[in-house]
Symmetry: C2
Subunit: 210 residues, 2 copies
DNA sequence: CTTACTTCGTGACTTATTTCACGAAGGCGG
DNA sequence: CCGCCTTCGTGAAATAAGTCACGAAGTAAG
């Protein structure tokens, strides 16, 4: 209910999980779900579920939990689903091209609208309706097109330069696969997907336990 | 210094960043670095850097910061680098095959030693020295081979089954690319890489800020 | 050797996030 | 309509994480 309270950053990520689960439940023909049950599916406590949802509204009914149809609609609204979000991809190497081929995005409301690379061999390659362009042309093409979300999948050396260009072309959110801490101005959000860090967490754990 | 204090989970991830940065500095010929400087590189405060490091030892010298060679050695030790960690990959689709082709792992101390899939067309395909095997044979091959780290890159429907099999074959750490919350017994760690959640964070942000 | 400066390590404090636990609301059977 | 059960929403308490700020230790210069 309360719009003023500060919302923990991680609550939004959990909202994603809730949405995913209730969509699954909906497919199974369910029409109501309790916080306890949602918690079981997402490995969270019932209190956590209720609190997270309560940051955004009163979606539940005391005796009987949450109605799936309405909760779904609300969560989708909050998470900005419904619009199709255009994405710029920079770097069509191993990961970049995997993302291009991944069909799931469209279904989730995201489309890679443009793809760039430096490599001659990659420029001009077609993926579906999309042709890989020269990274030198980002500004030209991007300006005004208003993709606010970008994915960086270039080698570490190039990542900061690419980020700078993207910021100039008005990108506000960057999903970064390069193993670098990007410097961006305020108002631009970066989220890192960093495989070596993830794996090092594992090797840390494994080295210690026993 | 203090071994008893509870270490924040995120401190280990930051250790990875520190290690990466000092290795970069070392390549540039530097041999000392201060917490302030490390903080600038990683976008953290100097206090955060010092506190993180202090969970694991007294690596610094008061007047002059951290000696790169020794800090590097210590961090590598803590993070379990030095050994080559074998990894099992399950799912050789878009993402899985990108990971197989990614050369960086080896350099970081991780090697994909086995790869599995269900798809006839993928089974038998060779990537370097590695041949994709039938997922039905995981147990057989894995038992005793002692890969403790696995990567799941299968479609959501299959992920939990795969996880169960992996757990049986003694895997302790799972990097999960499937958009599902995996249920695993205590003692097994899962880290999720969830593109739609990441992107939904963005669409959430973008929907609100104006 | 003394003074001025740098930079660490850390306890105390602040802020952020999660968990607890309970009142109130809704549903249901009789 | 009345208990009884379920389940929400939410302040208050507990836990976790991050920041501050300062004493102590090192360095450098004269």
């Amino acid at each position: 209910m309360n719009e003023k309270k500060r919302i923990p950053k991680s609550a939004v990520s959990r909202l994603s999980l809730y949405l995913r689960e209730i969509q699954r439940l909906e497919k199974d023909g369910r029409d109501r779900v309790s916080s306890t049950e949602l918690g079981e599916f997402t490995d969270l406590t019932d209190a956590q579920v209720r609190k997270d949802l309560s940051y955004f509204g009163n979606f539940g009914t005391s005796g009987s939990g949450y109605e799936i149809a309405t909760l779904k609609a609300s969560l989708r609204k909050i998470l900005g689903k419904g619009a199709m979000w255009p994405i710029v991809l920079v770097g069509v190497g191993n990961i970049g091209s995997a993302l291009l081929r991944y069909p799931g995005f469209k279904h989730e409301g995201f489309v890679i609208k443009e793809a760039y690379d430096v490599d001659r061999n990659k420029i001009g390659v077609r993926y579906d309706e999309l042709v890989v362009k020269d990274v030198a042309d980002i500004n030209k093409n991007e300006k005004g097109k208003a993709a606010k979300i970008a994915i960086i999948a270039v080698p570490e050396k190039a990542a900061q330069d690419v980020a700078d260009i993207l910021v100039k072309s008005n990108v506000k959110c960057i999903l970064n696969f390069a193993p670098v801490v990007l410097k961006v101005p305020e108002g631009v959000t970066v989220r890192n997907i960093d495989l070596s860090t993830e794996l090092e967490n594992f090797s840390f754990l494994l080295s210690f336990s026993k």
